[in-house]
């Protein structure tokens, strides 16, 4: 039985604007680490808040366990939430902050003490229990926010962009800690972020959203290798996928995806049947920068198609060189071997790994 279920959930904030969340259907199993990811305004926070009971559903139902909680107050939904700004009570010390929810539920004082100390130990904040939030650093406050959720022992943890307010180094560190926390607690985590890196590294399953609609649901690797539409393809993976407007040229066994004169990639054997009906139609070809190599240093075991291109700008990353290339009107990014000779203004042979090609219908934007 799924821990959380959304059924045909809609949320409209006003009648003339498009819905913030539209036809949201999702089943989340126990112990999952599910990440809702998408650009600003895509509805991911709203979807989370609908589950939390902080927003009212316009249509549809939400279930936690097998209870329909659509009209149940937040406090009775057996959930705990970590807010982006932590929302710690400024006038209470850390202990009281963490104990607040338990005190309201009339849990005996001894038990409260036990739970708070336990959670503090897990998070390494035992020494901070007497301090007030203003005497804590950002990272420490975040742990207190986590601690406040942990002591509640909820069925589901909701986290709304908890890492956004931390500096880069702390973010990476805390990411790992949250993953460990999830493993040790064994509770369902539902996590919202706009950062696809966080989604890819932390999730067991990712839900990509845009303009209130679910674009694709799947494990990180699944989304990376088989994006269902252009949006997901361009959103997941960093640096982002390269896109080209192409037309299917040729006939029979010799089909090519033609982006421009002299710039065409052959269609591999297994895809011929798929792409044949799209002859002379407009398509979008996507290929990730990691599948585009400097021809001189291409990996030995790939099926490559070579193209002449001019180097526009290069970025030295140390372990690789990001080369921004141009072929006529088309611009794309290539992740080159660090030994590459590519320099701005030069022409080099670029190898496209044909197995890394994704094709999308230009009108429906979905994958073929």
């Amino acid at each position: 039985m799924p821990t959380v279920r959304y059924e045909h959930v809609y949320k409209r904030f006003s009648d003339d604007a498009p819905p913030a969340v539209a036809d949201f259907n999702l089943e989340i199993s126990d112990k999952e680490f599910l990440v809702l990811v998408g650009p600003s305004g895509c509805g991911k926070s709203t979807a989370l808040r609908l589950l939390a009971g902080l927003e009212e559903l316009t249509e549809g139902d939400v279930y936690i366990g097998d209870h329909n909680v659509s009209n149940v107050q937040s406090r009775d939904r057996d959930i705990a939430m970590v807010f982006q700004s932590y929302a710690l009570y400024p006038h209470m010390n850390v202990f009281d902050n963490m104990a607040f929810g338990l005190t309201l539920r009339k849990i005996p004082k001894d038990e409260i003490k036990v739970r708070v100390n336990e959670a503090a130990a897990i998070l390494g904040i035992e020494g901070l229990l007497k301090r007030k939030p203003r005497a804590l650093s950002g990272g420490q406050r975040q742990r207190v926010a986590l601690g406040r959720a942990i002591v509640r022992k909820p069925a589901v943890f909701l986290l709304d962009e908890p890492l956004s307010n931390l500096d880069a180094k702390l973010r990476v560190q805390t990411r790992a800690e949250i993953i460990k926390l999830h493993q040790s607690l064994g509770t369902t985590f539902i996590y919202v972020t706009h950062d696809q890196t966080e989604a890819m590294t932390m999730a067991t399953r990712i839900v990509v959203m845009d303009v209130g609609v679910i674009q694709q649901v799947g494990a990180p690797q699944e989304l990376y290798e088989h994006p269902r539409n252009i949006f997901v393809a361009g959103f997941i993976g960093s640096p982002a996928m390269n896109f080209f407007d192409v037309v299917v040229e040729g006939d029979g066994d010799d089909l090519r995806l033609q982006a421009a004169e002299g710039f065409a990639l052959p269609v591999p054997q297994e895809k011929l049947a798929q792409l044949a009906p799209y002859r002379a139609r407009k398509l979008v070809m996507g290929i990730r920068p990691e599948s585009v190599h400097d021809g001189a240093f291409q990996p030995p075991d790939i099926r490559a198609s070579l193209v002449e291109a001019t180097v526009d700008v290069t970025e030295m990353m140390g372990n690789e060189v990001l080369a921004y290339m141009e072929v006529g009107e088309h611009k794309f990014l290539c992740r080159c071997d660090p030994r590459t000779a590519a320099r701005p203004g030069q022409q080099i042979r670029v190898a496209f790994d044909i197995d890394g090609v994704h094709v999308f219908d230009a009108d429906t934007k979905t994958a073929i």
Binding site: A52, R75, M81, F83, Q84, A87, Y89, L104, R105, R148
Partner: protein, 308 residues
């Protein structure tokens, strides 16, 4: 060319230095002169209140500064004992303190509802409440006096005195002052409550807090500056009130200090020995509160008015 331009500016720098040394003098002069001018009336009063009645009429108060032997406490003695200022002082407290407490309590409840609860016509009603800020109290006095006359419950309340309700009662004044202070209280508190982060409330609701719990355990503790400012404003406003007491109280035994001084002024227009001491006595409490709580005063005005 550039060198010429810069040297021209450099020449200007010499006059700048001159201006810096001597230019500040007019500034200081103006400020200090203004402060002095502003303080003189109060000082005049204070000094005179310590002078012998004959001295006040005979020579300017500034003479007292040069001749300390003139200083005396007879005026204060007179005023406190013979003129009933002590009683009036206590009456002022009796009127002011409950009025302040009620307005905070009732106003805070309403402000919370306006700030964080959803209900139909919320904005309209709030606007009306704030619009009532501009209603002159005078305009309400005839009907209220009429109303009070009808609902007066006679009888003598122990300790504080006065009727149970209506004309000539303290309870009547408390309720009236509370009502008159509500628009400002709600305006001030609602602005402040509304500024508290939304996530704080959401977190509390998730934790299981009811509206009352949130109100008492989170909103009020975090709103101490605004509540302090409101308390100060209301206290001062009620303490200094003359008109409402004049109209609704009637009974001279219940008179607060303002009424008392007013009647002294009308009967003893130039009897400064009495007036100065009485006036200064009435000033002690407000001045004390002001100096002790200056910080909250300014913050309070800002929280209410200069927000955006």
């Amino acid at each position: 060319m550039a060198a010429q331009r810069i040297s021209a500016q450099h020449r200007g720098r010499l006059s700048d230095t001159l201006r810096k040394t001597f230019g500040r003098i007019p500034l200081h002069f103006v400020i200090l002169a203004t402060c002095l001018a502003w303080s003189i009336p109060t000082i005049a009063l204070l000094v005179s209140s310590f002078r012998d009645p004959s001295a006040i009429a005979g020579s300017g108060w500034w003479n007292a500064l040069l001749d300390p032997t003139q200083w005396t406490l007879t005026n204060y003695d007179n005023v406190l004992n013979a003129r009933g200022m002590t009683d009036a002082f206590i009456n002022s407290l009796i009127i002011t303190i409950p009025s302040t407490l009620f307005v905070i309590l009732i106003g805070a409840f309403a402000a919370y509802a306006f700030a964080w609860m959803k209900f139909p016509f919320r904005n309209v009603i709030f606007l009306i409440v704030v619009a009532l800020l501009v209603v002159p109290v005078q305009m309400t006095l005839i009907p209220i006096l009429r109303l009070y006359t009808i609902v007066t419950i006679e009888g003598s309340i122990p300790i504080i005195g006065g009727n149970v309700f209506g004309v000539g009662s303290y309870s009547g004044l408390w309720i009236a002052h509370t009502a008159y202070g509500l628009p400002f209280a709600i305006f001030l508190l609602r602005n402040f409550f509304g500024g508290l982060p939304r996530e704080l409330f959401e977190s509390a609701h998730l934790d299981g807090a009811s509206d009352l719990t949130v109100f008492f355990k989170i909103v009020l503790p975090l709103s101490v500056p605004a509540i302090a400012a409101l308390a100060i404003f209301q206290f001062l406003w009620v303490w200094q009130d003359l008109l409402v007491a004049l109209v609704l109280l009637g009974d001279p035994d219940l008179a607060p200090m303002t009424l008392q001084i007013n009647s002294l002024v009308s009967s003893f227009g130039s009897n400064y020995q009495v007036l100065t001491a009485a006036a200064f006595l009435s000033m002690i409490v407000p001045l004390g509160i002001f100096f002790a709580l200056q910080r909250y005063f300014v913050e309070g005005i800002l929280a209410g008015s200069v927000k955006g």
